[in-house]
Amino acid sequence: MEEILRAEGLCKTFTLSRKQQKIERTAEKRKTAVDHLSFSAYKGEIFGLLGPNGAGKTTTLRMLSTLIRPDEGDAILDGCSVVNQSEEVRSKIGFLTSELKLEDFFTPNYLFDFFSHLHGVEETTTRERKERMFSRFGIDKFAEVKVANLSTGMKQKLSLVISLVHDPEIIIFDEPTNGLDVLTARTVTDYLQELRDEGKTIILSTHIFSLVERLCDRVGIIIDGRMIVCGTLDEVCNGMSLEDRFFEIYKEQKGGDE
C-alpha cells in the first residue's frame, strides 16, 4: 500500500477565553485539543477519524488542510509538509467542512469557474468537469440560481462539488453527512465510494458508527486529542461491533466513570 498521508506527533493547544472557560467548566487557561497525534493513510482508501464531540477530530483536519498550524509535529501529504509547504498542500487536497461557506450572492456556475481559476485548472477542463459534476449532483438545473435561493441540501452538494473542482488526490471531509437529509447524505456517501474506487484517498471525521462501518477501510479512534487505536475495522473491533468496542475503549480511557 502506498502511503499518501503521514501525520507525526501533531499537537495543538488553544487559549480559552473566559466564556469558553465557563462553558468547559474549567479554570485552565489553555486546552490541548490535539496531543501528539500520529497516523497514516494510504492511496485509494477511506480513513475515518472517530471520536466524541471535542475529541480533536476537526482540529486535526484543519491542521491537515493548513487552515491552522500545528504547535508541534508535522503532516506530509503527497510529499508536502503542512508546516513548510502549505500552498502545495492546499493544491493537492479538497477540504469540506460546515464552517466553509459559499457567497450567497453568486451562482453555482460562477463559483465553480472562480474556484477552478484559483486552483489553476484550465478552462476546457473546467467546462468538462463542471458539466459532469453538475449533472452528477443535479446542480445543472440550478446552475444560474443564486446560492442564497438554493435549498440546504443543494448548497451542501454544491460545497462538495466546489471542494473538488481541481480533482484532488486527497479529500478531507469533516462530518460529511451532518445536517443532510437522508437522500443527500446517501448521494454524498455513494460519491465518496466512487472517489475511492477512482484511487482517491479520503479522510473523514464522524461520530456516526454506521457510517464508518459502511464506508471506511481503516479507522482511528481519537479521545481527548490522542489517537487511542488505529487500524482496519477488523483490527480495531477485535470481534466486537464498532459501537461496543468504542465504548469499551472510552471507558478504559476515562477510568470507567462515564
Binding site: 477565553s17 488542510s65 493548513t66 487552515l67 491552522i68 498550524r69 500552498e87 502545495e88 492546499r90 493544491s91 487536497i93 477540504f95 464552517e99 466553509l100 461557506k101 459559499l102 457567497e103 450567497d104 450572492f105 453568486f106 460562477y110 472562480f114 474556484f115 481559476h117 484559483l118 486552483h119 489553476g120 466546489i162
Partner: protein
C-alpha cells in the same frame, strides 16, 4: 499583476456591480443626494438673499460729511437703500430695537472731515467715531450694515494711502480678492474630498473583509492554493477602485451643485485650475483612496464581524476628520517636504496646496510614493492577518 489577484479583483467587481442596490447606495446615491441637498440649500439661501435685496431699506444719515456723501449718495451704496439725511432721536433707535423701523441709522460727528484731517495730521489724538444702529436679526439690515462697514473701511484705507502719497491700490485689491477665493476653497475642499472618499471606502470595505469572516466565506478562499498576499492585494485594489467610483460620484455631485450653491452677486469661484492641477489632484485622490482602503481593510480584518468593524473604524474616521480640519487652522500648506510622508496629513496638505494654486510636484511625488509604500506595508500586514488563525478564526 498576478493571475489570482486579478481573479479576486474580478470577483469583488462582480459582487459589487451585480448588486444593483449596492451600486445605487454606494455610487449613485452619494452624488445624487449631494447634488439635490446642495442645490436645494443654494436655492433656499439665494431666495433668502433675493428677498432681502428686494426689501426696501432706508439709510438715515445724521451729519452727512462731504467726504462720505459721494460714496453714500452718488455711488448709491448700498444699492437697495434709500438714503436720507437728517438727525434721529433716541426714540428712533428704540423703534429700531423694537423692529418697528426698517431703517439703518448712521451718525457721524458734526465735524467728521475736520476730525479726520486733524487725526491724520497728528494734530489730534481723538479718533472720529461713527455710530451705526442696525437690526442684526434682519438679514437685509445685516447685509446693508456689512456693505457699509466695507465701504467705510475702504474709505479709511484709501485715506491713509493718499495721505502717505502712494497711489490708490485698486489693482492690488482685486488680486487679493482672487487669492481669498482660492484660499477659501483650499480650506474647505480638502476636508470635503477626504470625507467623501472615506465614506466610499466605508460603504464597501467592512463588508468585503469582516463580512466575509462573518459569513464564513473567507475560510473557503483560504483553503485554496492562492497565496495570502495575492488575496490581500486583490482585496485592497478592488476596494480602492470601487471607493474611487463612490468618491467620484460625490465629487461630480459637488461640482454640479456648486454653481447652484454660490449664486451670489458677482461671486467668482476661483476654480480656474490648470491641467497640471487636475492631474496632481487625480494622483492624490488615487493615493489617498489606496491608503484609506488599506487602513480600513486592516481594521476590518481584525474585526469579528461587520458591526465590530464599524466600531473599530469610528475612532480612525475621527482622526481622518481632524486631519481634514487642519487647513482651517493653518495658513496654507506646509513647506516641509518631510511632512508629505505622513499618511493622511500628506493628502490634506497636497489638496490644500493644489486648491490654493501652489502646486508643488515634489510634494505630490512624495505623497504618492509614500502612500504606495504604506499600501505595500498594509498588503504585507493583511497577508499576515490572513495567515493568522487567531485573527481569522477567533470567535
Amino acid at each position: 499583476m498576478k493571475s489570482n489577484t486579478l481573479t479576486i479583483i474580478k470577483k469583488e467587481f462582480a459582487r459589487f456591480f451585480g448588486d444593483r442596490q449596492l451600486v445605487f447606495t454606494a455610487v449613485i446615491m452619494p452624488g445624487l443626494l449631494i447634488y439635490l441637498i446642495y442645490s436645494l440649500m443654494g436655492t433656499g439661501i439665494n431666495s433668502m438673499i433675493s428677498d432681502s435685496e428686494n426689501q426696501q431699506m432706508t439709510l438715515q444719515v445724521e451729519n452727512m460729511p462731504e467726504s462720505m456723501s459721494t460714496m453714500l449718495l452718488a455711488h448709491n451704496v448700498p444699492p437697495m437703500c434709500k438714503v436720507v439725511t437728517g438727525a434721529f432721536s433716541d426714540d428712533d433707535i428704540k423703534k429700531l430695537e423694537d423692529k418697528e423701523l426698517n431703517t439703518l441709522l448712521i451718525r457721524f460727528p458734526a465735524n467728521f472731515d475736520q476730525q479726520v484731517e486733524d487725526y491724520y495730521s497728528l494734530e489730534s489724538e481723538s479718533i472720529p467715531n461713527i455710530e451705526i444702529y442696525y437690526n442684526s436679526a434682519n438679514m437685509a439690515s445685516n447685509m446693508v450694515y456689512d456693505r457699509l462697514c466695507d465701504e467705510i473701511m475702504s474709505f479709511e484705507r484709501g485715506y491713509q494711502i493718499n495721505e502717505s502719497g502712494a497711489e490708490q491700490p485698486t489693482k492690488k485689491y482685486d488680486v487679493a480678492t482672487d487669492s481669498i477665493d482660492s484660499m477659501i476653497w483650499s480650506k474647505i475642499l480638502p476636508m470635503l474630498i477626504v470625507m467623501l472618499l472615506f465614506s466610499g471606502v466605508m460603504a464597501i470595505a467592512p463588508s468585503a473583509i469582516a463580512g466575509e469572516k462573518e459569513r464564513g466565506t473567507i475560510a473557503t478562499l483560504l483553503v485554496t492554493p492562492m497565496r495570502r498576499n495575492e488575496l490581500a492585494l486583490g482585496k485592497i485594489v478592488s476596494l480602492s477602485c470601487i471607493a474611487l467610483l463612490s468618491g467620484t460620484s460625490s465629487f461630480i455631485g459637488i461640482a454640479l451643485s456648486l454653481p447652484n450653491m454660490i449664486q451670489t452677486e458677482g461671486a467668482e469661484l476661483g476654480l480656474d485650475y490648470t491641467v497640471n492641477d487636475y492631474m496632481a489632484l487625480m494622483f492624490i485622490i488615487f493615493a489617498t483612496v489606496l491608503i484609506m482602503a488599506s487602513a480600513v481593510s486592516l481594521l476590518s480584518a481584525l474585526a469579528k464581524d461587520v458591526k465590530n468593524a464599524g466600531t473599530m473604524i469610528t475612532p480612525f474616521m475621527l482622526v481622518v476628520m481632524v486631519a481634514g480640519l487642519l487647513p482651517l487652522m493653518q495658513d496654507g500648506a506646509t513647506e516641509s517636504l518631510a511632512s508629505y510622508a505622513i499618511p493622511f496629513y500628506n493628502s490634506i496638505e497636497t489638496f490644500t496646496a493644489i486648491f490654493a494654486h501652489k502646486l508643488q510636484w515634489s510634494a505630490v511625488l512624495i505623497t504618492v510614493a509614500s502612500n504606495v509604500v504604506y499600501t505595500g506595508v498594509a498588503v504585507w500586514g493583511l497577508t499576515k492577518m490572513f495567515n493568522s488563525e487567531k485573527v481569522m478564526f477567533s470567535k
